[in-house]
Subunit: 348 residues, 4 copies
């Protein structure tokens, strides 16, 4: 059987390097090209010694012809703004694309401009991109040639809220998302807010009400609920490397027990292997999904206040980026969703 040849643009970021880890153990795929806008000609193992004797390919420059010659599918794990220009050219060259940047997630170019502070891609490409959140919109991604991979926070938030919103069990105007992320979410770039001495033994909050993932979350939740939804969204930085937790609040419509919610969610995610619903009185922790593609969800329903608390966790680099991208590759190629992704979380 022939292996699918894949290329990774942005292979020297954390998302790119995690793609390498996952694709190396994917039975149907060969990494044909690791690409970086800088350092071309240097072995990827030079900057990432953990890859020594595993993958020592030289970094390729971003060159459409070169990519076309080497690969069938391209992952673009590029900073926001780069995919906007690059992906149309990749698609025109006949390549299939899975984009891990935020450039094609919003259907509205106007919203994109507002939140990302630069120009959106051409509308035709925004339209063409299939938003690859399989657990909510799954079959849409099968067989397409261009998938936009969801953001880390939007994945954790939407998976946690969708069933309750779809069922009308919580008031769509009451949704508050208190999100916490490990530091790897902000990438490998050098910044005081990722400096060990500033982050370690510290808990901080950032971009309150201003995070560019807000419109993405609202777009998904509005689709699910069938009406416009506006959310309060706060992001915090946790002194750890990997993991996201979303603690979400909504006012319950009617009297729902935790058992009701567990049943609702298990039914909603039936056949979706990467979502795990915790039992009554159990809540997930980020370490329980570390290194894996799972999203784990738990509940607390409070009679005193009439509010529901939903807790969802993911590994931000796996289900929140590279793992979900491989899941989308599997769907794109018509393979079993779990191919290469049956990863047991690494504990402790």
């Amino acid at each position: 059987m022939n292996s699918l040849r894949v290329a990774i643009v942005g292979s020297t970021g954390y998302g790119g390097v995690e793609l390498i880890r996952l694709l190396l153990q994917h039975p149907k795929v060969t990494i044909a090209s690791v690409i970086s806008s800088s350092n071309s000609g240097v072995s990827i193992a030079e900057g990432f010694p953990h890859l020594q004797e595993i993958l020592s390919d030289e970094l390729d420059p971003i060159d459409i012809d070169l990519i076309k010659g080497k690969a069938d599918v391209v992952f673009t794990a590029t900073p926001s703004g780069v995919s906007t220009e690059l992906i149309p050219r990749l698609l025109e060259a006949g390549l299939k694309v899975i984009d891990l940047s935020g450039d094609f997630r919003l259907k509205s170019g106007e919203l994109y401009g507002q939140w990302y502070k630069h120009k959106a891609a051409e509308p035709q490409y925004l339209e063409r991109a299939v938003y690859g959140l399989a657990e909510l919109f799954g079959e849409e991604a099968r067989g397409v040639d261009f998938i936009s991979n969801p953001g880390c926070y939007p994945t954790a938030a939407a998976l946690g809220l969708a069933p309750a919103l779809a069922a009308g069990w919580i008031d769509p105007d009451s949704v508050i998302i208190d999100a916490k992320s490990g530091v790897s979410g902000s990438g490998r770039g050098l910044n005081l807010s990722a400096h060990f001495s500033e982050v370690n033994e510290n808990f901080s909050v950032y971009k309150v009400n201003r995070h560019q993932h807000i419109p993405e979350i609202e777009q998904t939740l509005s689709l699910i609920a069938g009406r416009e939804i506006t959310v309060t969204f706060t992001t915090h930085l946790v002194p750890m490397t990997r993991g996201i937790m979303c603690t979400m609040y909504g006012s319950l419509n009617g009297d729902r027990t935790e058992e009701d919610l567990i049943e609702l969610y298990r039914k909603y995610y039936e056949g979706r292997p990467f979502v795990r619903i915790r039992g009554k009185g159990k809540w997930p922790a980020t370490k329980e999904v570390a290194g894996s593609n799972y999203c784990d969800i738990g509940f607390a329903a409070d009679r005193r206040t009439g509010r529901l608390t939903i807790i969802s966790v993911i590994d931000n680099i796996v289900k929140g980026a590279a793992g979900q991208a491989v899941q989308n590759l599997n769907l794109m190629m018509g393979w079993d969703e779990q191919t290469g992704l049956r990863l047991t979380p690494i504990f402790p």
Copy 2:
């Protein structure tokens, strides 16, 4: 000038050890007795080598007569349930008491029984205890002989919410408190949930809607707002040792800008040196108060959702325990509130 002689019951817990650190640099106080229910006769520096050549007193047993002979004021940093019995005896012996346990914070013994799962202290002592949250109820503590020191979460939550609630700027029925704490908050006891390999590189949630600090928070906020308040309260464990952040949400009554809030809070806390209000668009981080008695507060008002986000941080062992207890000692003795507490946060 004669030094005030103080005794610390529970001196081998984290609250007790921090009291030692703070009282050692207090100009008007002498540590007369360090007391522990076990290990009496052993030097405190044996179990806490950081105290070598600083304080090597032998641990005293819990013995009312002994304490009475040695001390004027007693700090009780004991597990919940111990103070219930001990403090009446200390008071009857004519000692002044500052209690760091939760046993005398709730005025209602019934609520105490419900949330703490054991019997409350005698009503007369619950009544007699002055709840020592100086920034909200300050002058009440001056000159009294029995102060109940507030809990760590209730301190951070109430200081963050009080001015907005008192002013009627947020809907009292809309309050959600998403709280995060370092691991030291759960003490020095051995427990899997404090095991390094389980906590490190992990973010978890616990006691959702069930934390015993809920009625304490509600008691304070109800007093401030002049009506019954019920809150949603979630507690998370952060992989760090010290620090609490409360991220709090409320629906704004009317259109209030962040400038309005900053002005409101600065006026409310005027003359209260331990509360610092951040400027517009600035939010505090836990490390910015580490080792100090400050509570720092910041805001985000969101026009899109009509909600206010309030962020407050404290060092859970200082303003959330030992530091506030020393502040209460200062008030009890009629001294300047800041005596021995002019601590610059330790950074980084």
Copy 3:
């Protein structure tokens, strides 16, 4: 093809849980029984929620007949002293055994008693156990029915020192091993020295000159060097979960450059896929092997002092425990050493 049925005694410790993670992805193995001296009848996923929907087998008690009925090979990841009694019974029942405890690593029962402070196993079993450090004694393990899995520190230390000692390039009387380990090395037991608030933001030293791995290291190095070797060995606790680094010092015999050493080591470990030798001026870090079975080694030769510094790193739970045990299973069964162990380190 029939899967090999394996049982894990001590499956609720960190070594046991890591064995589960590795064996779940091993193509030739089925986990037939997870065994614990306590909690039998409870699902393993109850205590380890990261295994939910992956492995929910109930824990079996330690019962030789039960094990015999279910399994072909038994991993014993038990505390020191338990294997001593248990393994003879497993072997007599015709089971193959790979022991992760320290009970069968020392050939001398007397030395065992001296360092482990309890009675050694019967001499015949000490003799029968094959010490499974494949990179040094590889073919000995092929086809045997009882393998003693090396300790974490001895693995990192011996792999780092063996080639230089075998070649006579360093003075055998000059060896100093300064070792550092993550906290998981001390297991899941509750102990103040694993309490997050005591370990975090702390670096400490323990068991100086007294660690029970000392005679194991000396036994291996003496075999390699062909003469008695005594080492200075210091162990430190690093505020991290996984990883061991050994920084090792020896006086160079003759003038050896780093290039010489790299060549020597690459030749020595030729055909051994789990040892990776860093290039000149490069030294490994623990994160570069995290989650994988690699041992990475680097060098610094100092003309000023005539000393060689060797740095080796492993993941203490993988190459230092569960991964090496699976490697030994592969050898025992005559399979390719890397079966199920082609693990890319997880980074970051």
Copy 4:
């Protein structure tokens, strides 16, 4: 009484900010000017919100006349190479100087050039600088106008080795120093090696045999031993913010017990309040000196190998930088060495 007016050049680095924390509680000093080569005119509290309402002075530029007008003593916490030029001008202007950079620690300009890779200061200033390691060379610093503050590693290493070397108890040719530091040691600059996601849950080694502190350590030890000493020195990065441990090895001359060593060291450091010698079988941990000016030392003497292991710990920013600088200020001014430095370590 008039306060001494001090200026801090480089006040926005970690050393500078810690000087501020310490000097704010110094009873005889006023911070007259906080100076930074950039950002002049901006409040120091802008970049360091932990200083809000404590110190909000605007940053001054580096301007000799300005400094001369405002201050009596200047601390220079500047990157290596800057003090070389700046300090002669400060001295010529009649200011007293305590230099925290490495520019004036080596008496040999040639050695400086070799290890620091840029040109040394004028010989007359190298001569004039008094090396301020009070516990070894104490009285030399009294009353002088220019003190060079020792490096962090050299402080921990020399304090740990000096008494044994001075007594001739260890072979001067056998000294190996295995040093470990928290990340703050490398400052606030942005660098991949201080990036949280790369450092956290990682233990690494750097600059093996090449650290610029090597000649400083050798200069001190040679003075103490009365002969040339060459050491092997390895530096490691610990995933924590503060703290240094040096684990040091030497061959014992004669049979010395741990009791002998404890007695030797206690006598050697008699009257030196910042060195604490641990009791038999006790070794210090970095957290036990955190935030304080202590250097704690412990021993293990090994009959099996004839080697001595010495363990010393300091807080790298306090005794390794700012605290020692204040100690030197006290000596320079003829004050009690401990003025403003009676700091209890912060635990946990």
